[in-house]
C-alpha cells in the first residue's frame, strides 16, 4: 500500500503533474530516462503564440520540481516491471549508471573540457549539429546539472584504455567508473505516463532529400540552430557553407497527414511552430524571406489565427498552399529548388531557396509499445497510448490507477501538455484517495 505516485517522463507534462501533486502533499517519483528533465520543450527556442523564450519559462519549473521536497527525480532511469494494482503497485526501475556521483558533481564541466574525446562526438541534444565529449553535461540548463559519462563512447568504459583525464580534472572526485546499473523497487499507489513524443525521421521521404542535401534540415534541428544556447549561438547557418540563409522554405506535413508513413493524423502544432520559426528568422535578420508551404492552415487555438495573420503582415511570411513534390539541389551553390504546384493559382513552379526546413510529424517515442506492455495499458492504431474514453475520460487507461497525459497520447502543444499533466495529477490523487477510503487498512497508507 502506498500513497506515492510514479510519473514516467520528465518533460513539461510530467513536471507539471509532479509539481501539482507535490504541492498537494503527495509524494512523487519522477522517472526520466534521459540524464536531464525538461524533455522536448527544453530544446526549443521560443514557444508560440507568445514567442516566449522556452527555456526561460520552463527552467524555473524544472528546478522547482527537482528541488521539491515531495518529488524524487530519478534521471537515467527506466521502468522495467510493474506489478500489483491501484493503491499498491510494485515498480522496478532500472537506474542506469551515470558514472558520476550526483551528490558530489557541481556541474562545472571540467571533465568535459579535459576528456580526450572532447569535440569528437556528435551532440544528440543539439541534433548532431554541435559536438560533445564522452563525459559531458547534456545542455546548459540541464537539471540536474550533473555530468554524465557515455559508456558506449568513453574509451575507458568501452575499451578499457584511457588516460582518465576527466578523473584528474574533477576537483570533487565525483567520477566513479565503478558505478553499475541498479534495479530498485518502489511502491506507488498510482502511475502517470507522460513519455512524450519523438519526431518523424524524414529520411524515408526520399523526394525531399533529407540526409542527401546538407541544407535540408528538420524543425528540431532548426530549433537548435536558432537557439542562443545552441551550437551556433543562435546564428542560423547553412550546413553546407556556414552562410546565413536569406530565403527559407518551410514544408508542412512531412510524415504527417500521410497514409504512407503510417501517420494520417494532423500534428496540430506544425502550422504554428513553422510560423514561429519563420518569425524568428525574420526577427534575427529582416531581409530573410520566408515561405511556408502548407496543405491547410490549422490555427485553432486562442490567438493562433491572429498569430498567422501577424506572420503574414508583420513578418512578411509568404504562405503557399502546396505540398511540394520534390526538392532538388544545385550542386554548385547547394541552394535548393522546391518544386510545387501552386494550388491556388495553378501551375508547377520551382522556388529557389537557401534552406529548407521540414516540419516533421510528431510520432510515438521508441519503446512506447514495450512500456505499454509493461504497464498493461492499451495503445491506439498509431501506437500512442489509448484512453478508455477520449472525450469523457481522456486521462484514464484500461488499468485503474494508471493515467496518461501529454504528447504520448496524441500530438499536442505545450499548453495542452501542461493542462493534461495537471488533469492526470488530479486523477491520480483522486484514485489514491478513493482507494484509501475503500481500503480496510487505510491507516498508514501514503507518506
Amino acid at each position: 500500500m502506498s500513497g506515492s505516485i510514479l510519473i514516467i517522463g520528465g518533460g513539461v507534462c510530467g513536471i507539471q503533474a509532479a509539481l501539482d501533486l507535490g504541492d498537494k502533499g503527495r509524494h512523487v517519483y519522477l522517472v526520466e530516462k534521459e540524464p536531464s528533465i525538461g524533455g522536448r520543450m527544453a530544446l526549443l527556442d521560443k514557444v508560440f503564440p507568445t514567442n516566449d523564450c522556452s527555456i526561460c519559462i520552463l527552467a524555473p519549473k524544472m528546478i522547482t520540481c527537482f528541488n521539491h521536497p515531495n518529488v524524487d527525480v530519478l534521471t537515467c532511469s527506466e521502468v522495467v516491471e510493474v506489478k500489483g494494482k491501484v493503491g499498491d503497485f510494485k515498480v522496478k526501475v532500472r537506474r542506469k549508471a551515470r558514472y558520476v556521483d550526483e551528490d558530489k558533481c557541481t556541474g562545472c564541466g571540467s571533465c568535459a573540457e579535459e576528456c580526450v574525446l572532447a569535440g569528437k562526438i556528435p551532440d544528440e541534444w543539439n541534433q548532431g549539429f554541435g559536438t560533445r565529449a564522452a563525459a559531458y553535461i547534456p545542455f546548459m540548463q540541464a537539471v540536474p546539472r550533473v555530468a554524465i559519462i557515455d559508456p558506449e563512447r568513453c574509451l575507458l568504459l568501452a575499451k578499457d584504455k584511457c588516460k582518465k583525464k576527466c578523473v584528474e580534472a574533477c576537483q570533487r572526485g565525483a567520477i566513479d567508473f565503478e558505478q553499475k546499473d541498479v534495479v530498485e523497487t518502489i511502491d506507488v499507489g498510482a502511475i502517470i505516463v507522460a513519455t512524450g513524443l519523438t519526431i518523424y525521421d524524414p529520411t524515408d521521404v526520399t523526394e525531399y532529400g533529407y540526409g542527401r542535401f546538407d541544407n535540408v534540415i528538420h524543425s528540431m534541428e532548426y530549433e537548435r540552430l536558432i537557439n542562443a544556447s545552441g551550437p551556433t549561438g543562435g546564428h542560423l547557418k547553412r550546413r553546407s557553407d556556414g552562410e546565413r540563409p536569406k530565403r527559407i522554405a518551410y514544408i508542412q506535413c512531412v510524415g504527417a497527414r500521410d497514409v504512407r508513413s503510417g501517420h494520417p493524423y494532423c500534428c496540430s502544432v506544425c502550422c504554428m511552430y513553422a510560423t514561429k520559426d519563420a518569425m524568428l528568422a525574420y526577427m534575427h535578420h529582416n531581409d530573410t524571406k520566408n515561405y511556408i508551404l502548407y496543405t491547410d492552415i490549422r490555427a485553432f487555438g486562442r490567438g493562433f489565427d491572429e498569430y498567422i495573420k501577424r506572420g503574414k503582415e508583420e513578418y512578411c511570411i509568404e504562405y503557399i498552399r502546396a505540398r511540394p513534390g520534390e526538392i532538388m539541389e544545385d550542386p554548385e551553390t547547394n541552394n535548393l529548388f522546391v518544386w510545387y504546384d501552386d494550388t491556388e493559382s495553378c501551375g508547377v513552379k520551382n522556388l529557389e531557396v537557401d534552406m529548407v526546413v521540414l516540419s516533421v510529424a510528431f510520432v510515438p517515442p521508441p519503446g512506447l509499445k514495450e512500456l505499454a506492455s509493461v504497464l498493461g495499458i492499451n495503445i491506439d492504431e498509431y501506437e500512442f497510448f489509448k484512453a478508455i474514453d477520449d472525450m469523457l475520460a481522456p486521462m484514464d487507461t484500461n488499468v485503474p490507477g494508471i493515467y496518461i497525459a501529454g504528447a504520448c497520447t496524441r500530438p499536442m502543444d505545450v499548453t495542452d501538455a501542461v493542462t493534461q499533466g495537471g488533469a492526470a495529477a488530479d486523477r491520480a490523487a483522486q484514485a489514491i484517495k478513493e482507494f484509501g477510503r475503500k481500503s480496510p487498512a487505510k491507516a498508514g497508507a501514503g507518506r
Binding site: 526520399t206 497514409v259 511540394p324 518544386w339 494550388t343
Partner: protein
C-alpha cells in the same frame, strides 16, 4: 469457297497510281470489282498503321500504288512506301496473315492496263489464299464500364486533399501547363466527368506512378487514368497514338480468333534451346519483342536481342524454357489505352495457351508483361495463379544460391534506369542492381533520380509521344550522362526503344550532353556469361 470474293483496299497516290486506275476506268479496261480505292497524295503517306487497320477490319488484301522509282512527285515518298510495305509484310508474316496479302505496285498515270492486270492477278492469288481469317472472329461483348463513381471509389480519389504533391512530382506537368493530376482529380470530385473524358489531358499521363509514390493519401492516379480511358473509349475517344496506332492494330489482331501466328521463326538458326510444352517448368514470355524489332527498326531497337539473350541466359543457368508458338501480346498497352475488351480477349487466349502448356512459372524480360500477367490477369482470369518472375529476379535468386558464374569481364561504368512497371508497380529495385554489381568489372553509379524516384522514359502504352516526351527523355539522358557512366542499362524493351528514339533524331544543343550507349540488362548479362549475341 466458290462464292468467295476477296475485298481489296488500294491506297493509290494522287499523281500516278490513282490516275492510272482512273485511266483504266475511262479507257473501259475491265478489271475485277473487288477493289476499294483510297486516294492519298503520295504513297509515302501510307503508314503501316493504314495497312494494318485495313486487315484488322477484315480486308483480304491491300495494295499500295505509287509512282515509278525516280518519278515520285515528292522526290522519294514512293521509296519510303516500299520500305514500309516490306517491313509490314514481315509483321503480317509474324501474325500469320501471309505477306502475300500485301502488295506494292508502281503504276504510271497512263498505265491503266498495268493497274488492271495487277488487280486480276491479286484477286486470283487472294482467292486461292482464302478469306482473311480475322473476318470470322466473333466480336465479344463490350465489357461493363466501371462508371466514374466506381473509378473514384476504387482509386481512393475521394481521399484527395488537393495538396498538389502529385502535380509537383509529375514529369509531364512540369513541362505542360495544361496537365495536372490534382486538377483532374478535383474535376472528378466536382463531378465534371465529361471534361475528363473529353480532355486531352487524359491521354497525356504516363501512368508512371511517380505521383502515386508520393501521394500522402494513396490516391491511385494511374489506375484512375487507366479506367477513365476505358470510359472515354466508350464515347469513341482516343489519344494520339504513336505511329498512328499500328501497334494497337497488331495487338488487336492478336485478340481476335482464327489467327495462325508464325511467332517462332526468329528462333530458327539460333543456338538456343527451347521447347513447346513441359509440365511444371518455366516458360519464357516473349511478348511483343519480335514485333517491336520490326516496328522500331528505323531507330535500331533490336528488340529481338533481348529475347534471344534472355533465352540464352536461361539456357546458361540450366533452364530450357517453354516458348509458345501461339502466345499473344499481354494486353498491357491496350488496357492502358482504354481498350478493355481486347485486353480481356488477349488475357483469355494467353491464359488458355499457358495453362495448356502446364508451366508453373513464367519468366519475363519485359516489366509491362510482368505487371500485366501478375497484377492485371487475376482480375479477368478466374483462378489465375501462375507465378511470374522478372529475369533480373531469377538471376538474383541464382546468384544468392551461388549458382551463377560469369565468364567474361565487362569493364564498364554503368547507370541503371528503373522501369516504372518493374520499380514503382512491382517493387523490384534491388535485384537488377545486385545483378549489375555482380558482373565482372562493372561499376554501378546511380543517377540523381533513382529507385522509387526514378523518372519515366517519357512514353507509355504508345500514347502522347511528342515534345513533352522528348523533353523528359533528354533530361533523363542528361542525368545518365552526368554520372559519367559508359552505358545506360535498363531492363525494359520500351525504355530502350524510347531512349534510342530520342537520340536518333535531332536534339536541342550539343548532342554530347545526351549521348550515351543504352543496353538492356539481358544483353549485358548474356555477354558476361559468354552467351551473348557476339559469341
Amino acid at each position: 469457297m466458290a462464292s468467295f470474293e476477296p475485298e481489296i483496299v488500294a491506297f493509290t497516290c494522287n499523281w500516278c497510281a490513282y490516275a492510272g486506275a482512273d485511266y483504266a476506268g475511262v479507257s473501259r479496261i475491265q478489271y475485277p470489282a473487288n477493289v476499294r480505292i483510297i486516294r492519298v497524295m503520295c504513297s509515302g503517306r501510307v503508314e503501316p498503321s493504314f495497312i494494318l487497320k485495313a486487315f484488322e477490319e477484315g480486308a483480304d488484301g491491300v495494295l499500295v500504288g505509287g509512282c515509278h522509282e525516280a518519278d515520285c512527285h515528292y522526290i522519294s515518298g514512293n521509296l519510303k512506301a516500299r520500305d514500309r510495305v516490306e517491313s509490314t509484310k514481315e509483321l503480317l508474316a509474324l501474325l500469320g496473315l501471309g505477306p502475300e496479302r500485301l502488295r506494292i505496285k508502281w503504276v504510271n498515270a497512263n498505265e491503266g492496263e498495268a493497274f488492271a492486270s495487277e488487280m486480276d492477278d491479286f484477286v486470283k492469288v487472294l482467292s486461292k489464299l482464302g478469306q482473311n481469317p480475322l473476318k470470322k472472329s466473333r466480336k465479344s461483348a463490350e465489357p461493363a464500364v466501371p462508371g466514374f463513381e466506381q473509378i473514384m471509389k476504387s482509386t481512393d480519389a475521394y481521399l484527395c486533399v488537393e495538396c498538389g504533391k502529385c502535380t509537383a512530382s509529375c514529369p509531364v506537368a512540369r513541362r505542360d501547363e495544361g496537365f495536372s493530376p490534382r486538377a483532374t482529380v478535383e474535376e472528378s470530385l466536382e463531378k465534371r466527368h465529361t471534361e475528363i473524358e473529353t480532355g486531352q489531358q487524359l491521354w497525356e499521363c504516363l501512368t508512371c506512378r511517380t505521383c502515386e509514390q508520393r501521394c500522402p493519401y494513396n490516391v491511385r492516379f494511374s489506375d484512375f487514368i487507366r479506367d477513365s480511358r476505358i470510359e472515354a473509349r466508350t464515347l469513341g475517344l482516343d489519344g494520339n497514338p504513336t505511329q498512328s496506332g499500328q501497334m494497337y492494330s497488331w495487338m488487336r489482331m492478336m485478340a481476335k480468333d482464327g489467327l495462325k501466328q508464325d511467332r517462332l521463326s526468329w528462333l530458327d538458326g539460333l543456338k538456343v534451346k527451347h521447347k513447346s510444352t513441359a509440365k511444371n517448368d518455366i516458360m519464357f514470355f516473349v511478348g511483343c519483342l519480335p514485333h517491336f524489332d520490326i516496328s522500331h527498326r528505323h531507330i535500331g531497337s533490336n528488340s529481338l536481342d533481348i529475347a534471344r539473350d534472355s533465352i540464352a541466359i536461361l539456357n546458361a543457368i540450366g533452364i530450357t524454357p517453354v516458348v509458345l508458338s501461339d502466345e499473344r501480346c499481354c494486353g498491357h498497352d491496350l488496357l492502358y489505352s482504354g481498350d478493355a475488351r481486347s485486353f480481356k480477349e488477349l488475357a483469355k487466349k494467353n491464359a488458355r495457351a499457358i495453362r495448356a502448356a502446364e508451366v508453373k512459372k513464367i519468366a519475363v524480360s519485359c516489366p509491362e508483361g510482368y505487371q500485366t500477367l501478375s497484377q492485371a490477369y487475376p482480375s479477368v482470369i478466374k483462378g489465375w495463379d501462375v507465378k511470374v518472375i522478372h529475369i533480373s529476379e531469377l538471376l538474383a535468386e541464382r546468384m544468392e544460391a551461388g549458382k551463377l558464374k560469369f565468364k567474361k569481364d565487362i569493364n564498364l561504368k554503368v547507370t541503371y534506369q528503373d522501369p516504372c512497371r518493374l520499380g514503382r508497380y512491382m517493387g523490384v529495385y534491388s535485384e537488377p542492381r545486385k545483378v549489375i554489381e555482380a558482373l565482372p568489372g562493372v561499376e554501378l553509379v546511380e543517377m540523381e533520380h533513382h529507385g522509387p524516384d526514378a523518372v519515366c522514359c517519357g512514353v507509355s502504352s504508345w500514347i502522347s509521344c511528342g515534345a513533352t516526351a522528348k523533353s523528359i527523355q533528354l533530361s533523363r539522358l542528361s542525368e545518365a550522362r552526368a554520372t559519367n557512366a559508359d552505358l545506360l542499362v535498363t531492363s525494359c524493351p520500351k525504355c530502350l526503344i524510347h531512349f534510342r528514339c530520342a537520340l536518333s533524331g535531332k536534339v536541342p544543343g550539343e548532342k554530347d550532353d545526351f549521348e550515351i550507349a543504352i543496353e538492356d540488362l539481358t544483353s549485358l548479362v548474356a555477354n558476361a556469361l559468354g552467351v551473348g549475341g557476339d559469341n
